[in-house]
Amino acid sequence: MSVDPDVIRKCMWPVCLMGLFVTGILSLDCNLLNVHLRRVTWHNLSLLSRMSKSFPIECLRESKAFELPQEILSDTQPLTRDIKEAFYEMSRQAFHIFIQDTFKSTWEEKHLRQVQIGLDQQLQYLEQCLEEEEEENEDMREMAEDEWTQSGAPVPQLSNLELRRYFNRIDRFLKDKKYSHCAWEIVRVEIRRCFYFFHKFTALLRRK
């Protein structure tokens, strides 16, 4: 399928317009976080799909199983906070990957920019709501802070560690393959899969 980038761009504007009506970061009601996250995640997912016209067949050989840790969200009764933190971890790692500008030739800058903007918005949402929660637990935090600076870092959630390992695998894959075009395409598809997986679990946020 050979579609003119201009056509893609023209089509993307109304879609982006529609999708991004939701993403009023400064207007977020955290009780409806799942609603917004669901849309923003889906929007980013579709941006990732549209970045590239099609997956190059020759890159299939190099594809690798990154083993997305699905068990982190399929645990029975995960806490809402854990889900939010997992989302946040996933968002910032994805952002970290897409701000490395070693892919100038792979994708159009416009599309890349939109992905970066979209991911940043996702981050801002989560930061705002996680901050609100932290403010509620402010007293506890201040007490704990003194302990932390003395004895070292607190133990992060286990799920976050699994996510980090997963993204570390992706990161190392990119480095090992020297940021080749195929490597980037494979990573793009993988992160899209990851977003889809997380999108399914936005429903879990609402139930709590």
Binding site: V22, S27, R92, R113, L119, G152
Partner: protein
């Protein structure tokens, strides 16, 4: 003999422990204790306690093992250490998220102690955030801060967190040591609202969030702000969305200046390094002489951006103004809802709020949550009741009957931080139903009941008729018989009944006497008897007048049977 042998063996066995060391020629080395690891950024330090430290010539060595390794490897930087701590940062760990096992032992000559195993740990979890690297640049009323994240550029520990650090900064005037303020900044940011020609001091610490981890403060840095610049910077930047454009405004007190405005993506702030310097010129806002400019909406892609403005007075340019952040979503317009009302009872009105009408351009999918402000009042009075409702269907109860009430509503965004509202919808008025409706309902109910009783009675009647017909049939012949056999005698002939037929006969005239003869007999039962009885008469009759007699006889016969 045997006893001797046994005793020797016993002695050997018992003596073995202290014999062997004696053979090796040294005291029993105690293994180190309380091994612990301290990690700051990429600096790995191993510490331990040892009771045999004070003994001379005792050294310590450590080994490590990571998953995927079969054997223990020597820990570089921790071989034959005389003190009780060593730095093994030169271990180039590929993966800081894997568990590491460490063990230490004491050595003296050829003598080694037992291995003391340190509790396995994940380096990332144990790592502490070190101080960030700070570079400062002074303006007259602001300080530009440029920070590098903790650790080196190719830090292994924070490789995936470069863009996740936030920095907490404390700044104060050198003259007064009261801490002036604390701000959370990005890696390249500006501190505004400072006084010119003043020495300011600050210190910064880096933080990671979720889970929250706070770093160590950097050393204190001090810098002087410059003298007041000749050309002041524009202030109070505002941006508004109107129709299809953005209007950018700012304040500037002086004349004969031209301005230019630049914009940048908000997300670039997160990225440390020179990325945050990617400012783009806004068309229509270059060399403008007014304190505002109009920007078409397609200049900015959707998202959050920052704008800054600079003034220029001939040869001199001002410093850049404060950066104003704006979200392109502000240009969305909330359309007024459609409201309708109907009277439910004599004392309440039901209101329903519908989706806003479509605009000429396109239907706006209002996907963000809205609440509605409803103004409710009696038509004749001006007293308004304001209700804020999240639901789209609700009722106003306890109203007066036969009164006209009017209502109008507007939509608001639910969040207080961003106050956006639509215009009011059209006013809709409705009259409540008349009172005493309950009485009329009662009467109607009674009528209905009566009517239904009548209907029931009728139905029961019909049913009974049917039942009677089926189970208790009457003796009337069916009508078809009447049709075909209308003459009485033939009918009597065809149908047999058990009914006894009584006939009164009277002799009008008789030669002998006037007698009343009563005959009760069906024709078939006793025809002979009958004939014999009446034969005389009939004979008489027939003798006198054969025709008439026989006729009468004939007539008589069918009449008997019905």
């Amino acid at each position: 003999m045997l006893a001797l042998l046994g005793a020797t063996t016993l002695m050997l066995v018992a003596g073995a422990p202290w014999v062997l060391p004696a053979a090796s020629g040294g005291t029993n080395l105690k293994s180190p204790e309380n091994g612990s690891v301290c990690i700051i950024d990429d600096n790995f330090t191993l510490k331990w306690n040892s009771s045999s430290e004070s003994v001379r010539n005792v050294t310590f060595s450590a080994e490590y093992k990571i998953p995927g390794m079969d054997n223990w490897k020597k820990l570089p930087g921790c071989q034959h250490i005389t003190s009780t701590e060593c730095n093994f940062s030169s271990v180039k760990l590929k993966n800081v998220y894997e568990k590491i096992e460490l063990r230490i032992r004491a050595e003296k000559g050829n003598n080694t102690s037992q291995w003391h195993e340190v509790k396995p740990f994940i380096p990332f979890q144990k790592a502490q955030i070190g101080p960030p690297d700070v570079h400062l640049e002074a303006e007259d009323k602001a300080i530009i801060i440029n920070m590098s994240p903790p650790g080196t550029k190719d830090s292994i520990m924070w490789a995936m967190d470069h863009s996740s650090f936030t920095y907490s900064l404390v700044i104060w005037k050198n003259s007064s040591s009261l801490e002036e303020r604390t701000e959370t900044v990005y890696s390249r940011d500006k501190i505004y609202k400072l006084s010119p020609e003043t020495t300011y001091c600050l210190k910064v610490k880096a933080e990671l969030r979720s889970p929250r981890r706070v770093g160590v403060y950097s050393p204190v840095y001090c810098i002087n702000t410059t003298e007041k610049h000749k050309v002041p910077s524009p202030e109070n930047i505002q941006i508004d969305a109107e129709n299809q454009v953005y209007v950018l405004k700012w304040d500037y007190a002086y004349e004969n200046t031209t301005f230019r405005a630049q914009w940048s993506h908000e997300f670039l702030k997160r990225i440390p390094g020179g990325h945050s310097d990617k400012w783009k010129q806004i068309p229509n806002c270059e060399d403008v002489e007014t304190t505002h400019c109009v920007i078409p909406q397609n200049v900015f892609p959707e998202g959050i951006h920052r704008i800054r403005v600079q003034a220029s007075n001939g040869n001199n340019t001002s410093f850049w103004s404060e950066e104003k952040m704006f979200n392109t979503e502000m240009k969305t317009i909330i359309f007024p809802p459609v409201i309708s009302m109907k009277s439910v009872n004599d004392d309440s009105l039901h209101v329903s709020i519908g989706a806003p009408k479509e605009s000429e351009n396109k239907s706006v999918n209002q996907l963000y949550p809205l609440i509605y402000e409803v103004i409710f009042r009696e038509n004749t009075s001006n007293a308004e009741r304001k209700v804020v409702e999240k639901r789209t269907d609700f009722t106003f109860p306890n109203l007066k009957s036969l009164t006209v009430y009017c209502v109008k509503a507007r939509a608001l965004t639910e969040n207080d931080k961003w106050n956006k509202s639509s215009v009011f919808s059209d006013t809709v008025c409705e009259k409540t139903k008349p009172g005493n409706t309950s009485k009329t309902w009662l009467i109607a109910g009674i009528c209905t009941a009566l009517f239904s009783i009548i209907v029931v009675i009728y139905v029961v009647k019909v049913l009974l008729r049917c039942i009677n017909y089926v189970f208790f049939p009457s003796s009337k012949p069916p009508s078809t018989v009447d049709e075909y056999f209308s003459e009485q005698p033939v009918r009597n002939l065809l149908l047999s009944t058990s009914e006894e037929q009584t006939e009164r006969c009277s002799i009008i005239e008789n030669a002998n006497s006037i007698t009343v003869i009563e005959e009760t007999n069906p024709i078939y039962e006793d025809p002979k008897k009958y004939n014999s009885q009446t034969s005389q008469d009939s004979g008489n009759y027939s003798n006198e007048d054969e025709n008439s007699g026989s006729k009468i006889g004939e007539e008589l016969l069918p009449q008997e049977t019905v």
